[in-house]
């Protein structure tokens, strides 16, 4: 079936199979490989993208369902010339990334969180990231990086 939807600000058209998942559409059809598949079961959150501003597991989101909707992936967060967004920069500076596999999902979930709660506590952050698993960092630097990014954004700027 033919679908069209908005991806990172641009209208895209694609042919999808009825059983395809959004993650398949993004990675295999459209070549946007920033979104990762860690489990395929909606547990790890590495596949997190924003659909209509809401964080969802793209491994469980049927591709046909994205017709007419706005999707933002990790690729959509960079600025001109691949300039890192404040959240991405904070992860990098804060040592919140080791192997990097969970990072796109973590960053996208963080953007969703900060959109709702610009000054989250450490507890708010951990709650919001329940669906994003990291096997490398132990989460401490991730929480600190998010708090650092939140502080910078409060001082002015966009996520």
């Amino acid at each position: 079936m033919q679908i069209s939807f908005e991806l990172n600000g641009s209208m895209r058209r694609a042919r999808v199979e009825p059983h395809e998942r959004l993650i398949d559409l993004l990675r295999d059809v459209l070549g946007e490989t920033g979104t990762k598949e860690g489990c395929g079961e909606g547990e790890c959150g590495a596949c997190t993208v924003l659909v209509e501003g809401r964080a969802v597991n793209s491994c469980l989101f049927p591709a046909p369902e994205v017709e007419g909707l706005r999707v933002v992936t990790i690729e959509g967060l960079c600025g001109e010339g691949l300039q890192l967004s404040p959240v991405q920069a904070a992860f990098l500076e804060g040592g919140a990334t080791q192997c990097g596999f969970c990072t796109p999902g973590m960053v996208v979930s963080t953007v969703a969180l900060l959109g709702e709660n610009p000054a989250p506590s450490a507890s708010d952050i951990r709650n919001a990231l329940t669906g994003n698993l990291c096997r490398c960092t132990g989460y401490v630097q991730i929480v600190e990086a998010i708090q650092s990014a939140a502080a910078k954004l409060s001082a002015g700027g966009e996520a």
Binding site: V56, L60, S109
Partner: protein
């Protein structure tokens, strides 16, 4: 998983017609249980999927004689709905820790209840609020108490081509309070045990008690012996102890990768005691509900 077709009807009638015409089709709302099961081949690939995401009448919360929750409202929306928060404190507790944000942004009560996991977090709170389900097919509409809906692990009273269209809860009584507690290994894990309690108090006497447990039997279930131990009492230590003591004989937990049977028995009793302690302090005046712990 392969399937021949993905339908996106925009009316309930069209969705039910599609189901009647395609007996091998499956309904899908959030898909967070169904797609996992299809990938793991728990079910055979359906010939078609019938999406319920674009049907307005399934996505509304309405307050009239009773609270009517559309079966396809995303759980994240229910969690912030003022009517749900005011009338169903135990469900609000459960929604705060349900799955993850990503799951709650698409998952639904219709899907969770229809999936009929013994460990459903939505079921115990709805059971203590005496929820009813509205079921529809092309043959018509019927209501069933939630307590009669679950038939076994993954099995419900749904007939062919039938779906849950709404969850119905009668208006709250004055002085009703409810709470939900769960225990799991980590935040995002199916519960090892969960307990919901609702109490109505008139003066110093408990006039109504509802107790339900999840993850400790083939289905979510009411603990009627605990209810009987509480109703008509002053919710004193003796009554609470009797209720807690009744739990062991009423549940049938299994040992699995998450926990052993003895631990689940122990935890269920602890959760009931904590729920009673939490509510005992709130029964004096206006219903306040309580929080959840994982």
């Amino acid at each position: 998983m392969t399937c021949i077709a993905y339908h996106r009807p925009t009316s309930l009638g069209a969705a039910l017609e599609l189901a009647a015409e395609n007996p091998d089709a499956r309904f899908i709302a959030g898909g967070t249980d169904l797609l996992v099961k299809l990938r793991k081949r728990v079910h055979a690939s359906p010939a078609a999927l019938i999406s319920l995401r674009r049907i307005d009448e399934l996505a509304r919360v309405e307050v009239g004689e009773c609270l009517r929750i559309g079966a396809a409202v995303p759980l994240a929306d229910l969690a912030v709905n003022e009517h749900v928060r005011e009338r169903l404190p135990a469900l609000t507790d459960a929604l705060a820790t349900f799955g993850s944000r990503q799951i709650r942004n698409v998952a639904t009560l219709g899907g969770n209840l229809g999936n009929a996991s013994p460990g459903s977090d939505a079921a115990p709170p709805l059971l203590v609020h005496d929820a009813r389900l509205e079921l529809r097919s092309t043959s018509g509409v019927r209501e069933i108490p939630l307590a009669e809906f679950f038939r076994g692990p993954g099995e419900t009273a749904l007939g062919a081509g039938e779906i849950v269209t709404a969850i119905l809860v009668d208006g709250p009584s004055e002085g009703a309070v409810s709470v939900f507690f769960r225990k799991s290994r980590v935040s995002m894990d199916i519960a090892i045990a969960s307990v919901a309690v609702l109490l109505e108090v008139d003066g110093t006497r408990c006039t109504k008690a509802r107790v339900a447990a999840g993850a400790v039997a083939p289905t979510p279930l009411r603990l009627e012996a605990a209810e009987a131990a509480l109703e008509g009492t002053a919710l004193d230590e003796a009554a609470c102890a009797a209720a807690v003591a009744s739990v062991d004989a009423a549940i049938a937990p299994i040992s699995d990768v998450r926990a052993e049977e003895w631990y689940r028995r122990h935890v269920t009793a602890v959760l009931l005691r904590r729920a009673l302690m939490r509510l005992a302090g709130s029964t004096a005046a206006v219903p306040t509900g309580g929080g959840g712990v994982s």
